[in-house]
Amino acid sequence: MACDAATTVAAIRAVAATVAEHKVELTHLDRDIGDGDHGENLSRGFTAVITKLDAGAPETPTAVLKLVATTLISTVGGASGPLFGTAFLRAATSVGDAEALDGAAVAGALTAARDGVVARGKAESGDKTMVDALTPAVIAAKAAAEGGGSVTEVLSAAADAAAEGTAATFPLQARKGRASYLGERSIGHIDPGAQSTAYLLRALAGAASD
């Protein structure tokens, strides 16, 4: 099944639903080791995305991703706006003017997204950030794509790896972001940015297999 503009829109709608579903949980995670607004911020951002998509569906996958990027950048705030926004922006550039995406294109988009997040926020693996979900996701996506995986298979592999990477943030001490101010007190908590990234990828994988 090829991933065209309509499928991409459906996938983003699934993400928005997931973000709404987990809003309270993400806020609680952020309250533990952050400034307590992650769930609210992402929810506000994706609500704005849905409003725009309802007003008119973009014509290519890249246009959908760009709409998400600019909306998140303008509405999410915090660190997540620039970081998730940059991720979607790089993904949009990566897929170019393709009318439909295959597994390889999706793996490329995820890689570009992760590279953008790293370039912006300069986090490394193990810093206890969304990169700890994204990098494992990229590795798994690339492997699935190299094996000829479909969009669904690539996204499922990415989502599984992101979930594992998120769980692995539990014992880490934060070296970036507000949590880094807490030092050792950040140990023993799941990173909210990694968790939301994992939920996002799970939603995309679920939508792709519909």
Binding site: D37, I73, S74, G77, G78, A79, G81, P82, L83, G85, T86, R120, G121, K176, G177, R178
Partner: protein, 146 residues
């Protein structure tokens, strides 16, 4: 025309107050506060910062200073959307916000170019204040541990 300043903060009041303080020493410099979210809450706003850059750079360039890390992230995202020729003369400086703003504003007021204004901001990374403890040894000397 002079090099402008954009003050990125999570608080609208903090940015505005700092702009007021810096303007006392630099009345002809364009100092643009860009603090808080679009609706005046705590946080940073891409749109506010982007607009502030437009106002601060009147052709001679501008520097941006920020309070916390996510302020840098939002500012650097805003920088990506600048036209190349403007991007060449606008720069985010990693310096303490308050002292950096005052120091940079003065550099601009006395006619400094972009490089001189950046240098002014960077001074704040090194300069000590007139007093107060600067190390835990200083603290121990003041109040010896029992």
């Amino acid at each position: 025309m002079s090099v402008g300043l954009v003050l990125v903060s999570h608080s609208r009041e903090l940015a505005q107050g700092l702009a007021d303080v810096a303007r006392q020493m630099a009345p002809s410099v364009t100092i643009v506060p860009a603090g808080g979210t679009d609706d005046g809450g705590i946080g940073t706003s891409f749109d506010l910062i982007a607009a502030a850059i437009g106002e601060a750079d009147q052709g001679d360039g501008a520097i941006l200073l920020y309070d916390l890390g996510s302020g840098y992230l939002t500012a650097s995202t805003a920088m990506e959307f600048l036209e190349p020729d403007q991007a060449d003369r606008v720069v985010i400086v990693d310096a303490p916000l308050v002292q950096g703003a005052v120091s940079a504003a003065i550099s601009s007021q006395v006619g400094g170019d972009l490089r001189a204004v950046v240098s002014g901001a960077l001074e704040a990374r090194r300069a000590n204040g007139p007093g107060g403890v600067r190390s835990l040894d200083d603290l121990d000397r003041l109040t010896p541990p029992r």
